[in-house]
């Protein structure tokens, strides 16, 4: 027994190195989205430009679409607008989920819908407008339920309202070709 005890450090080290080895081949930043293959969470949020219209998860069913989380304050989101607009022209349905940052009263910030509407309209006019419409998530409730860590993020949702893909980061031609195009086409059929 005593003899075997001296082999314990060696055995522990071998065990550890197995994990170190497999760790080499996986990306530490990558994490499985918790909403994948689940239905879009229930919500009732207003349209950004026409606040009288209330969107719910049921109203969005019937056709596969991309739900793109963005904001005018987010530089990367602005950069992807042009390519998303191209996708829209190819017939991809894209719905915007507007990520409103919290207003800090201490810094004298007050939420002003009219100002926001103007700002968004101007931005989309300048950079291209990929969106069928924009849903305003003023208090970030749906964004929280979707497990969004930052903008931009994009969800691929099928006709039944099930989330099929969750992409963190911007969408560019390469990302679209490698990760989303095939999945989107298979949902279209």
């Amino acid at each position: 027994m005593r003899k075997l005890a001296f082999f314990i450090p060696f055995a522990l080290f071998l065990g550890l190195s197995v994990f170190l080895f497999s760790g080499l081949f996986s990306d530490p930043m990558e994490r499985e989205s918790s909403v994948l293959n689940k239905a879009l969470p229930a919500f009732a949020l207003p349209d950004l430009q026409r606040p009288d219209t209330i969107w719910t998860e049921q109203k969005l069913q019937g056709k596969p679409y991309l739900l793109n989380v963005w904001g005018t304050w987010c530089v990367t989101c602005n950069a992807e607008l042009a390519y998303l607009t191209e996708l829209r022209e190819q017939g991809v349905m894209i719905i915007g989920l507007y990520y409103q940052q919290p207003s800090d009263a201490a810094f004298g910030e007050v939420f002003n819908l009219a100002e926001l509407q103007q700002e968004v309209a101007l931005k989309l006019q300048q950079q291209g407008d990929p969106y069928q419409w924009n849903i305003l998530d003023k208090d970030r409730t749906l964004i929280f339920d979707l497990g969004v860590t930052g903008a931009p993020e994009t969800f691929l949702i099928d006709a039944k309202g099930i989330i099929r893909y969750h992409h963190v980061g911007d969408i560019n031609p390469q990302v679209w070709q490698q990760k989303l195009a095939a999945a989107y086409q298979s949902l279209e059929e």
């Binding site: 190195s17 080499l24 081949f25 201490a106």
Partner: protein
């Protein structure tokens, strides 16, 4: 041209490392005197070639030679000359070259200072150092070559050094850290050489002690500087983040600390033999593991170099050979070792055993916290992250018994200690502890039963015990004055390091409990009060530096109407790397830091500012400094030089008898 010479020198150095790995070891096993005699010259050659190579890379940075890929990606012609030189170790390839330089430096130092060791033993140490060197030189030469050229299409200017690294703390933090990491290679080599010989008297422990102390001292200093750098440069007032790479440097430190204590037991009492060898292997293994974690990209960290799976694979294979090989050798050789020494339950041996247990538990906590997310994910259980609360909680529970033990340890004799004689001095220490802790608290804050009080009590216990013990020891020489000249340096070093630990504990507890901070919007002329201090924003103006633009804020601080200081905080925008850096303004006093970071401009004339008042935060680094100073003093102990010479004859005769 110079860069090519550097490349050439590095290639020669690799060849020399091959020779160093083979020749002295061959000599030591075959009893070939010529081969053994070659060890020292080879070690010196390795050092000089590597130093030349390092100089060549530095020259490429100095002269803005952007045909060297590494220079182009880590420097810029606008960078001030001192940052151009420190940019040499600002990226993966150059920092590996520095690693080689440090390794070659330690090897040459072993050759220089171990001439009094039996030649056979010295040959084995140099051989082991050579084996480690072969692995690292091959890695640099074939997988991360800093001398790679981009000719004929070289860039006109470079991509600049990461602005985070453009700071004084960063100039000396990595060299110190590497001195520590690689220094444990020497302890490791001593342990492996002892394993090869299969003879375990306490002599190897005596020889290994000064080397281990030196490595530990550098590592302590390196970690402390890193913490200080993060505090000054990251602009959020923290000093330790439990980042995986910080943990990677903390683990060898913990094991190294255990090793220093365990070596003392092995040397003085001839026991804990297999344990000490395992710790020596462990300290260096954890250094290697740290290098792997930083450079392979398996963990998410602010320190990570660009990840490359091939490099990771190579390093892992190297880890398997070095760590796996040495642990296997350990398992095979240690079977036959028996400790003869006897000791009672209440003795210094047992207390030092307790020290080792707590330090290793702490290591295990850090190791688990660092690697568990990786293991969890690779088992397919999903991503998790382990953060500050986990570490803080567990260290809280570990520090309490550890400190209590530490206050008692130095008083207890080897072999056996009677309880009776200790009662009087220990109750004196206890009284002093209460007075010190409550006094400090009453002087700086109001007396409350909280974490700060606990920290003060533990710190005062360890500190006053260390001082009383020193006084008592000095008096044994007749008078304190006589004792000062007669007591050996090791003892002073130990006392100072223990006081350093006490200071550190007090600093952590006070900072954690009493730090206050606030984020405010300010215009010029505005005044904000925090913890009794009035911060007045005088003005904010534009700033133009050599490779950055920015804004600077001037603040006046007063306390209850009395002017305290003027603070100057900057926010810099580095043009080439397009990144924003905060240069926090810090007014440091032993009792508190005032810390201001300039944030975003919120409108034409108002800015966001972060203000902090952090009591006793200096004590954290002061503690680290005292600890490494303690290491330095212990290192100066005469007996490390004298006894080795005395021993020489005895062991040589013994060696001759064996042969």
């Amino acid at each position: 041209m110079i860069a090519e010479y550097g490349q050439l020198a590095l290639t020669f150095a690799f060849c020399v490392s091959l020779a160093l790995a083979v020749v002295p070891l061959y000599g030591s096993f075959k009893g070939n005197q010529t081969a053994l005699d070659l060890g020292n010259p080879l070690a010196y050659a390795l050092f000089f070639l590597t130093a030349f190579s390092f100089w060549a890379l530095s020259y490429a940075f100095w002269s803005n030679d952007f045909s060297v890929v590494y220079v182009a990606s880590n420097s810029n012609s606008l960078l001030p000359w001192y940052y151009r030189l420190t940019a040499v170790w600002g990226g993966h390839e150059g920092s590996m070259l520095m690693w080689l330089l440090v390794l070659a430096g330690w090897t040459a130092a072993v050759a220089l200072f171990s001439r009094s060791l039996p030649l056979q033993f010295q040959g084995r140490i140099l051989g082991v150092m050579g084996l480690i060197a072969v692995g690292f030189y091959a890695f640099v030469l074939f997988m991360s070559n800093p001398f790679m050229l981009s000719l004929p299409y070289y860039p006109v200017d470079g991509r600049d050094l990461n602005p985070l690294l453009q700071d004084f703390g960063m100039i000396i933090h990595p060299p110190m850290l590497y001195m520590g990491y690689v220094g444990f290679a020497v302890s490791f080599a001593f342990a492996i050489a002892a394993l090869m010989g299969g003879k375990f008297d306490s002599t190897w422990a005596r020889w290994a002690r000064p080397w281990t102390l030196a490595a530990w001292m550098f590592l302590t200093l390196g970690i402390m500087l890193g913490s200080w750098w993060a505090y000054a440069e990251l602009g959020w007032g923290g000093w330790w983040f439990w980042d995986p790479v910080e943990n990677a440097s903390f683990m060898p430190w913990l094991v190294g600390t255990a090793l220093i204590h365990s070596l003392a037991v092995t040397e003085k009492r001839g026991t804990f033999k297999s344990w000490t060898v395992l710790l020596a292997i462990g300290a260096f293994s954890l250094s290697l593991l740290g290098a792997f974690l930083v450079r392979s990209g398996v963990l998410v960290s602010v320190h990570s170099f660009a990840a490359d799976p091939d490099r990771g694979l190579y390093l892992l294979a190297f880890l398997l050979v070095v760590i796996g090989g040495s642990l296997l050798l350990y398992a095979i050789r240690m079977n036959s070792v028996r400790s003869q020494a006897r000791y009672e339950l209440f003795s210094r041996e047992v207390l030092l055993w307790g020290n080792n247990i707590f330090l290793l538990t702490a290591t295990l906590v850090v190791l688990l916290g660092t690697l568990f997310p990786l293991v969890h994910k690779e088992l397919g259980l999903g991503s998790i992250s382990i953060g500050e609360p986990f570490f803080n909680q567990l260290f809280y529970y570990l520090v309490i018994p550890f400190s209590l033990l530490l206050g008692l340890g130095p008083w207890v004799r080897w072999k056996q200690q009677q309880v009776q004689p200790l009662l009087k001095p220990m109750s004196l220490v206890a009284i002093a502890t209460l007075i010190l802790a409550l006094g400090t608290m009453a002087a700086t804050q109001s007396i409350q039963a909280n974490l700060a009080l606990l920290g003060l009590l533990l710190g005062a216990w360890v500190g006053s015990s260390a001082i009383f013990e020193l006084l008592q020891r000095l008096q044994q020489f007749g008078s304190v004055k006589q004792g000062l000249t007669k007591l050996n340096a090791s003892h002073f070093g130990m006392t100072l390091a223990h006081i350093g630990f006490a200071v550190l504990v007090v600093g952590v507890a006070m900072t954690k409990t009493y730090s206050v901070e606030t984020q405010v919007r300010m215009k010029a002329g505005d005044q904000v009060e925090l913890a009794g201090y009035q911060f007045k924003l005088v003005e904010v103006y534009d700033l133009k530096g050599p490779n950055y633009n920015g804004e600077a804020a001037e603040l006046d601080v007063s306390y209850q109407g009395d002017y305290v200081t003027h603070l100057h905080a900057e926010k810099r925008f580095y043009k080439v790397q397009r990144s924003v850096m905060t240069e926090a303004a810090v007014h440091a006093r032993l009792s508190r830091d005032l810390y201001v970071a300039l944030g975003e401009s919120l409108s034409e004339d108002s800015w966001a500012l972060s203000l902090y008042v952090k009591p006793f935060v200096r004590w954290i680094w002061l503690g680290g400094l005292l600890m490494s100073l303690g290491g330095l003093i212990a290192l100066c102990d005469k007996r490390y030089r004298r006894r080795v010479v005395e021993q020489k004859d005895a062991t040589e005769q013994k060696g001759a008898a064996d042969a």
